[in-house]
Point group: C2
Chain length 756, copies 2
């Protein structure tokens, strides 16, 4: 891959972009820990000149603000009207075609991912069990640990060298994830899947990739913030749908986590995308059921079918479930606490360079191998149940009953959990009507190991997801509780495992509806709904007393200026004026080129207010706001005049409508690209045509809480603060996302106590 291009991409991403989209950010944060370079929150200092998104490390398309839709659409419309109606139809059709493409692409990738993981780790496990059956224990361990380390190093190398910022097409992500999961790490594939889905969508939205010579002129109509955001949302939903084979869960995940900009039409398209993913996956799985996909054969669209278990429950069952939820919430918040600590430690190690990153991966890999291979020795061999339909011990395939060191007719229950893929281990734990399959002590050992491994694995330099480790630990915890309450509750231990997983997810992620749906889609039993709901509610409520959700923690570590949907209580005691800082840089309606260049060079601002002054108007009045990117386009064309005259909208006719359209990452004009002569510096340029003349404004005495709500609800990037009284300059300041961050507000107004 083109290394230079990636660096460009990262540098171009502006530091005020994107960050409203909590959900999307979370996906990035989930996949990008492989190159954490943070130690302290960046927000303490307002670092306007460095790129904070670069730290997130994904090739995010910077979605700036929906406030600019209008101006862009105005330009767009001029071009538009000259076209025929049939082309408008094409545009709408293309939107749906993109949704289809995203669905198909993500479905395919998801399927490929599954097949590859099943085959690679299946091969590894077969090799190991083959050697074990010949009593060559050390050779077996060597083979097992060796495979793991090789796969792990490959994954880490991919991340460390090929895609250091996880930039680009998402292809390194896919392979990294396949290798990482196959290497036996306690990681999930869902984070990278979501990332890949978003990457596919982003690639389409950027008008294809010049790198791969995939471009199409029609795609330029999608070069605006709204269409990009919509497509990325679709992509993320498709990723969830593909990872969990949960289409409705995918839609809800996108909805619950990216709800601030939710629109009905978007829901509609997202829904379509995930339906396509589901159909693609289903078609492939049906094909594979004929046995043509190597070791991949198991399962339908439902990953862990528990619908055979009885689902009536009594009062004592509810009590057991409440207990399970409470403890699950506590364990979940402890998990979050340690993940936070570990991430901070790893970030220091990872900062030292690629060699350290890979070393860390190797250490964790060896530790995982030792646990997986060593701990099963502590388990006693259990006689195979007699009423089985599957073979026991399992030979030649990944199954419920691993023989490990046991003789024929016996199986090792711990090995059945450890020496399996994570998916299979979860399936074993969720399996119903097999109460006695796992011994209590085995469950206890496995739970402890997975809980700790999950914590120390997240944050190493491989693409990783958090859901699967949490589900794995939770399922084991649930089954353990089920065994302990055996005498009291009549619920199946498989159901207890499911509820345990729910309690852990609730305790760490703190999402509710989307998690609930994903779990139900994983297990195909809606009858469980009330119980799953109850557990999620309890565990989230309990965990919220201790700390924040794991994604909120990560956002905080990374110092991303994420705005909460609600205003903080202390904001009620402040007004908009109280948080304005720094000198305000304004332009005249017709400004000297030199002044503009100077401002662009010396500040990092992305928006500048434009003020009409005498003699062009009466008293000075606010004309609007102009974007750095638009200024660069204007300056590049050199439409200058010697005198202070209005050139008017004619100027736009010298531009194609799409010159001002949103450029792809790294493809916009940069300050260095400009080549302005000394003589031109003294000339004038009319900014009116590119000025957004309807910026959202607030009066300086507006309650800060209300200003924050306005800013957040409308997804703004810049908000103009205007004076209350007349006879003063027509603008007091500009507020950006940074100005609403608690650190900034409380730094400027230390007397305001952040009371609850």
């Amino acid at each position: 891959m083109d290394q230079e291009n990636i660096v460009d991409d990262v540098h171009d991403i502006e530091n005020e972009g994107l960050l409203d989209r909590k959900g999307i950010d979370r996906y990035w944060s989930e996949v990008s820990d492989k190159n954490m370079t943070y130690t302290e929150p960046l927000l303490v200092k307002r670092t306007n000149t460095t790129s904070q998104i670069a730290i997130v490390g994904a090739n995010v398309c910077p979605i700036e603000s929906l406030d600019y839709e209008i101006i862009e659409n105005e330009l767009f419309k001029q071009d538009w009207r000259s076209r025929k109606k049939v082309q408008i139809f094409q545009y709408v059709l293309l939107k749906w075609a993109f949704a289809l493409l995203i669905g198909l692409g993500t479905g395919l990738v998801g399927f490929f991912n599954n097949i590859a993981v099943e085959n690679i780790s299946g091969f590894k496990l077969l090799l190991t069990s083959d050697l074990m059956s010949k009593h060559k224990y050390f050779k077996a361990f060597a083979a097992y640990a060796g495979c793991n380390v090789v796969l792990a190093v490959a994954a880490a190398a991919l991340c460390a060298f090929i895609a250091p910022a996880a930039a680009g097409s998402g292809i390194p992500e896919i392979f990294g994830s396949i290798l990482g999961v196959s290497a036996g790490f306690v990681v999930g594939k869902e984070g990278p899947m979501v990332h890949t889905g978003a990457c596919i969508a982003n690639l389409l939205g950027q008008g294809g990739s010049r790198k791969y010579h995939l471009t199409w002129t029609w795609l330029r109509y999608f070069k605006n913030d709204r269409d990009r955001r919509d497509m990325i949302t679709c992509g993320a939903a498709a990723g969830v749908a593909a990872a969990f084979r949960a289409p409705v869960g995918g839609v809800l995940f996108a909805l619950e986590e990216a709800a601030s900009w939710w629109r009905s039409a978007l829901l509609w398209r997202t829904f379509f995308t995930t339906a396509v993913v589901a159909i693609v996956l289903r078609a492939f799985i049906q094909y594979c059921n004929t046995g043509k996909c190597g070791l991949f054969g198991e399962g339908g669209l439902i990953m862990y079918d528990v619908s055979s278990a009885k689902t009536t429950y009594s009062g004592s069952d509810i009590l057991a479930v409440i207990f399970l939820g409470t403890i699950g919430g506590i364990l979940g918040s402890i998990y979050n606490y340690f993940v936070d600590k570990v991430l901070r430690t790893y970030s220091i190690i990872n900062e030292r360079g690629a060699a350290f990153k890979i070393l860390l991966v190797i250490i964790i890999s060896c530790l995982t191998s030792c646990c997986s291979f060593g701990l099963p020795w502590f388990a006693k061999c259990i006689a195979c149940p007699t009423d089985l339909t599957v073979s026991c011990p399992t030979v030649g395939e990944s199954g419920n009953y691993k023989s490990f060191q046991c003789s024929s007719g016996y199986y090792n229950d711990l090995a059945s959990l450890f020496l399996n893929t994570n998916d299979d281990a979860i399936r074993n734990l969720f399996s119903t009507s097999t109460t006695k399959e796992f011994h209590i002590s085995s469950l206890f050992i496995f739970f402890g190991a997975v809980y700790c491994l999950g914590i120390i694995t997240y944050g190493i330099a491989i693409p990783s997801g958090l859901f699967i480790p949490v589900i794995l630990a939770g399922a084991c915890y649930g089954r353990l509780v089920g065994r302990l309450f055996e005498s009291m509750s009549t619920l199946d231990t498989g159901l207890f495992a499911l509820l345990g997983a729910a309690s852990f997810l609730g305790g760490t992620m703190r999402m509710t509806v989307s998690l609930c749906i994903i779990l139900l889609e994983l297990t195909n039993d809606l009858q469980l709904l009330p119980l799953v709901m109850l557990v999620l509610l309890i565990s989230k409520t309990v965990a919220d007393n201790f700390n924040k959700g794991v994604y909120d923690q990560i956002l905080k570590i990374k110092g991303l200026p994420y705005m909460e949907a609600h205003a903080e209580p202390y904001m009620r005691h402040l007004v908009a004026r109280d948080v304005i800082t720094g000198p305000l840089v304004t332009f005249s309606g017709i400004e000297k080129v030199g002044n503009i260049l100077h401002a662009l060079k010396t500040t990092g601002h992305n928006g500048f207010p434009v003020i009409d002054e005498p003699p062009l108007s009466g008293p000075p009045e606010l004309c609007g706001i102009v974007l750095r990117s638009h200024l660069l386009v204007l300056l590049k064309r050199k439409n200058f005049s010697r005198d202070r005259v209005v050139t008017g909208d004619d100027i736009l006719q010298r531009f194609a409508a799409f010159d001002f359209a949103k450029a792809g990452s790294g493809k916009g004009i940069k300050l260095e690209d400009l080549d302005i002569e000394e003589e031109e510096m003294e000339m004038y340029v009319d900014l009116h045509p590119i000025t957004n003349s309807s910026p959202y404004t607030v009066v300086e005495t507006m309650s800060l809480a209300k200003a924050a709500i306005l800013f957040r609800q409308l997804g703004l990037r810049h908000m103009c603060v205007v004076p209350k009284s007349q006879g003063r300059p027509p603008i007091v300041g500009i507020l950006t996302r940074h100005d609403f961050m608690p650190e900034h507000i409380l730094g400027l107004n230390p007397h305001v106590m952040p009371d609850k």
Copy 2:
């Protein structure tokens, strides 16, 4: 019930309130057609003095705007701080307790509703089949039609006399719905259920009901717009959950239909409420399974279990499904077209008085009885299948196989559909592995009858829901298509019925995600998801080409000023100034009492801008906006002064914080309650303490599209338009919801073509 009180309630409801809440409005519109009094859209004339909500006819709590949260919370806070921390905890706890109560209440009502319907109509049907088996055909018809008419008249009388505006506690609704459904009408219980859920929530939110002596001082903390809205949302979700036993569907319905004000915390509480409903229902159903609920015995939490059918599908199945979806969409839009026509006709009839309403109900009831009893005679008797586990023909209970006129060993398939409750008919249609149970001609007849009856029944004076009729017609249509495609598709006819129902729902309601989830929860098979999604997408897309969703149509007939979430394209060519009308009534910061009274009397405005003028300030500046309701409270207390002096915030100390809190419907101070002396008219009152000093403002040159988005996204009630240039009065006008209605905008600006 207290008739006068109801009239008060209706009159008090202000005409700008509530209407952002599309979802809630839709619930009302669904239940309130029994007293339609509209003929023409009211929006053509801007009728500020009449109450438009009164037409909707429900005792809605007028949620005005979230813009006032701040001022109310300021007052609230003063009171709050004097209280102890433990009481804040109580407040939060109370919120959850309310969610619990709403859940319990709605669950109970839902269960009661089911039991009553099953028993009443079960008794009726048993009587009929008993007479039929004795070959007393005329007596049977007389008994059947007689029961129906009596029940129908009772339901209509309840609506026409006891609860003409569906005001109050929702109790008349429940009984009306029970009677209406039992009367054999093609109506559903879900509309009234949603209404009842919202009523329960509203009752709690109003601080109990003085009428029923249920009050509690703590409840006054909930007398604000936000808490009320939240509780009503919870109630509506609980209603859906209770009607369909679909808790996730309930949450999503509230989310999809009331999404503009959605918050994460609210989702959380809604989720809890519906979980409670599900648990309550489940507990009762388990109790009933022991046979203690009379004729109610069937079913678990899942209403129509189709999970036994095989769910693999091939390309030709998909083709059949696409065909089904397309035709379903067309039929759905035709359904909408006729419902619209019928509603307009009925509204003229219903306007003439209670007698006409009841007459209409009787006619429709007789028509329904004739269809239900007459049409089965056209069906041939079919020999009972031999491999049944249930008895055939069914004797002594409502079941799949009705004998009607047939001899022993035979059943009449049309009677099995007609002479059953709607729920049972749907269950029969959804039943799997019974392909041949219904003859094609029978399905055809039943489909035609139900399709037409559904159209002519909606709008008569009984509480009715639209979902069940649409599902019934759709299921029949789907099964019909399934039979026709028998040779081509391997899908079960029961699945076809489900998909047919989905296509009809998509074609009429045009919702997607919530419908999909409700259907899946009704049928308990997530494997069907991709197919259901596909059908919904196709039918909605097809139907959208013809007309709007049925609820949008009803909103339009009723002339409710509902604002779309997006701005219309023609708004881009206008600015905020272009839609301002009428003389602006402003107050000084310290205003003469007489002036205020005059303004309150002569205008219908609910908000007035307050302007500080010399000598109190320099040039005049906008101080804020004051509400009619707050002015009334202030005037009532007579804190007047002889001179133009600032009394300041001290004035608030003479008020309890809750004097300004939102009064319940019909409980606020009215203009007639004021008793101002002639002498006092010349005195002054300081408006500053009650002025909302941070109103949201836009500049007059702001694009109307952007102003509309601001208005809608923030859920405003009033928006101040300020001048762009200095030296003019500080406010140009006030925009309310009415000013954004297309009729109003296009009336003022006829040159703007509403292009697409």
